[in-house]
């Protein structure tokens, strides 16, 4: 019984983890058809922002949930204005330019923070469930992810802002004819995506040792989750994260963590072979 509970927690946690690391990328891809390959580095910067803020005596929750998103969001706006703005509509070129950015940011972080690993300790301690030890911080991650998804859904469907954003994505010239500046909407969307990414980086910072190159561990998973999910932002990420989380945890328990990772990757290849437009290209079509 205890074991079943532990496994259930682990599966939910791994789904939440995948959603958390890919949601920022999904916002930018789903709304603007831009793939930000510097996504992992945005998370890395978020992590550093949180760690530096904690080092200056700021409360750890404020550092993770306020400072990290703000810092990375502002960096995102700068990058959008300087680089990505010129490349809208050229999917491959944006991928290449942001890949260059990711290398640049890794080098930049190495020069500032040095090629060492830093970290902070998680603010919530673990507890024992029967004869097993459970990480209490995992519940925090699950909670935050649920709140983020709920908030995104609410903003997109019930507010004026969400309506304008969705309208601009469907037809930029029509939105502009109605008096909304698409340029501003794109900028705001990119800010939102970057801020979400920064928050994810900040929240995950206590879990892993953070170094300038740690973004690379996230980007592939986030990229795969978003692309397999397809065009719909929320439905796509939720469905593919659930599928991949289940598969990778099942194989992790059955064999080893490495097999779990490989199983996730193989599943992605098979999935894309069967559904070339991603999950939401066929199911849940037209949802958000």
């Amino acid at each position: 019984m205890d074991l079943a509970a532990v496994i259930a927690i682990e599966v939910v946690y791994s789904v939440a983890f995948l959603v958390l690391i890919s949601v920022g990328l999904a916002v930018v891809f789903g709304m603007m058809r831009v793939i930000n390959l510097a996504h992992g580095e945005f998370m890395m910067l978020g992590g550093y922002a949180a760690i530096v803020a904690v080092g200056h005596g700021i409360n750890i929750y404020i550092a993770m949930l306020v400072v990290a998103p703000l810092v990375v969001g502002i960096i995102g706006i700068i990058i959008e204005r300087l680089v990505i703005r010129h490349l809208y509509g050229r999917l491959i070129d944006t991928m290449l330019a942001t890949w260059g950015l990711s290398l640049f940011l890794v080098g930049f972080a190495t020069m500032i923070f040095g090629n060492t690993t830093t970290g902070i300790s998680p603010p919530i301690s673990g507890f024992s469930l029967g004869s097993y030890q459970v990480n209490g911080y995992n519940f925090f991650i699950i909670l935050v992810t649920a709140v983020i998804i709920a908030a995104m859904y609410a903003i997109l469907s019930y507010t004026r802002l969400g309506l304008v954003a969705r309208g601009t994505m469907q037809g930029a010239d029509m939105a502009s004819a109605l008096g909304y500046n698409p340029d501003r909407v794109y900028m705001a969307t990119f800010f939102a995506g970057s801020a979400l990414t920064g928050m994810a980086g900040g929240i995950l910072a206590p879990l892993v040792g953070l170094g300038p190159a740690s973004g690379a561990t996230y980007i592939a998973k986030a990229f795969i989750t978003v692309i397999s999910g397809g065009a719909s932002v929320i439905a796509g990420v939720l469905s593919s994260a659930t599928l991949f989380g289940l598969i990778s945890q099942t194989f992790t328990f059955a064999a080893s963590p490495v097999v779990g990772e490989v199983a996730l990757l193989v599943a992605a290849v098979i999935l894309l072979r069967l559904l070339p437009q991603g999950i939401t290209g066929r199911f849940f079509k037209g949802r958000m």
Binding site: H86, L103, E261, P276
Partner: protein, 347 residues
């Protein structure tokens, strides 16, 4: 038309051969050899991306696979001829199978990128986790993160004791580059190559004309994989060790950067781009003021923004423009313009 194309290819090869013969008196052959290997690797992606329109995010998978095939079979066999061939054939076959799976499934652009990226990651993860003694192929331990050292490097065929190294190894690499360039040029001039380029331009139209685009893309992809495998095989012999780092994302990124900076849609572009950037990286590695990755990243961003055609076509255009200016005065307008178009295509 055919004739002038042949003349062009012959000129490029001649320039290449002369440059390769002169180069050892300027740079160390040890450095030069690896630059040429990178040139071959750049060429492999330049062929499938620039002419087939297939953006492969995982060219490093075939590169690493070639190196590992060579290393593992060289340990088991102890003589380098068969391993050398295996180092080309195994990536060729693997790329063929992977390509068939993707192209017959009608995957394109981003989705293709994801699948190739994922396959590279699978190799990377798997090879990194093979440290234990249970991962053995014949007499070769896979060695996990540390890679495989101590295999038989390239030797004169049939004589395992006479190693090819230093200057001779440089000449082997140089010959390989010239031969690969000549063969790909020939492939692109053949009907197969023409149709491949047509598929890049408009896949639907080519299919309506009755050509099977899926098969052609698969074959082209496999050939690209084989060339990358050759580069990996030579690299294994040069470095005398193979590590999982050959499968890394950074390696894949570098190959793409070479192609973008050198110039897509040309064969010399990726080779030149690879050599210049690899040498730049080598020079940057000798100082510690500025981080290496930062400079490379900046180069990629700037070249996507400001030099979308790459170095070689841009130079070709500039040279073409001045020679057109002269020619126009001589032979009138139309000849000049046609010449100009051909220049940028063949560079």
């Amino acid at each position: 038309m055919e004739n002038s194309e042949f003349k062009h290819a012959a000129t490029v090869m001649l320039v290449m051969i002369v440059a390769l013969l002169v180069a050892p008196s300027v740079l160390e052959t040890y450095t030069l050899s690896v630059l040429i290997i990178y040139g071959i690797l750049g060429l492999s992606l330049g062929l499938i991306w620039g002419f087939g329109g297939i953006l492969c995010f995982g060219q490093a998978a075939f590169y690493g696979l070639g190196a590992y095939s060579y290393a593992i079979s060289a340990i088991n066999i102890g003589e380098s001829s068969l391993p050398f061939i295996l180092g080309i054939v195994i990536p060729f076959v693997f790329a063929g199978v992977l390509g068939a799976m993707m192209f017959y499934g009608r995957l394109s652009d981003v989705y293709l990128g994801v699948v190739t990226l994922v396959v590279t990651l699978i190799f990377f993860k798997f090879m990194n986790s093979t440290a234990g003694p249970e991962y053995v192929i014949g007499a070769a331990r896979l060695g996990g993160f540390n890679g495989i050292p101590g295999f038989q490097t390239l030797n004169v065929p049939g004589r395992p004791d006479s190693y090819i190294y230093d200057l001779e190894f440089y000449y082997v690499c140089a010959c390989a580059l010239v031969i690969v360039y000549g063969l790909t040029r020939w492939l692109l001039a053949s009907p197969f190559g023409r149709v491949a380029v047509a598929i890049r331009e408009n896949e639907q139209r080519v299919e309506l004309m009755g050509y099977d685009a899926r098969l052609r893309k698969t074959v082209l992809f496999a050939i690209g994989g084989g060339i990358a495998g050759l580069a990996g095989t030579l690299f294994a012999s040069w470095a005398e060790i193979v590590t999982p780092g050959m499968f890394s994302l950074a390696q894949s990124a570098e190959i793409i950067i070479w192609c973008i900076v050198g110039g897509l849609g040309t064969l010399t572009g990726p080779v030149v781009g690879a050599m210049i950037l690899a040498y730049l990286k080598f020079l940057l590695g000798q100082q510690s003021l500025i981080d290496n990755a930062m400079v490379l990243g900046l180069i990629l961003v700037l070249s996507v923004l400001f030099l979308p055609r790459g170095i070689v076509p841009t130079i070709g255009l500039l040279v073409g423009r001045t020679s057109i200016g002269r020619r126009r005065r001589k032979s009138g307008r139309r000849g000049g313009r046609r010449r100009h178009v051909r220049d940028t295509q063949n560079a």
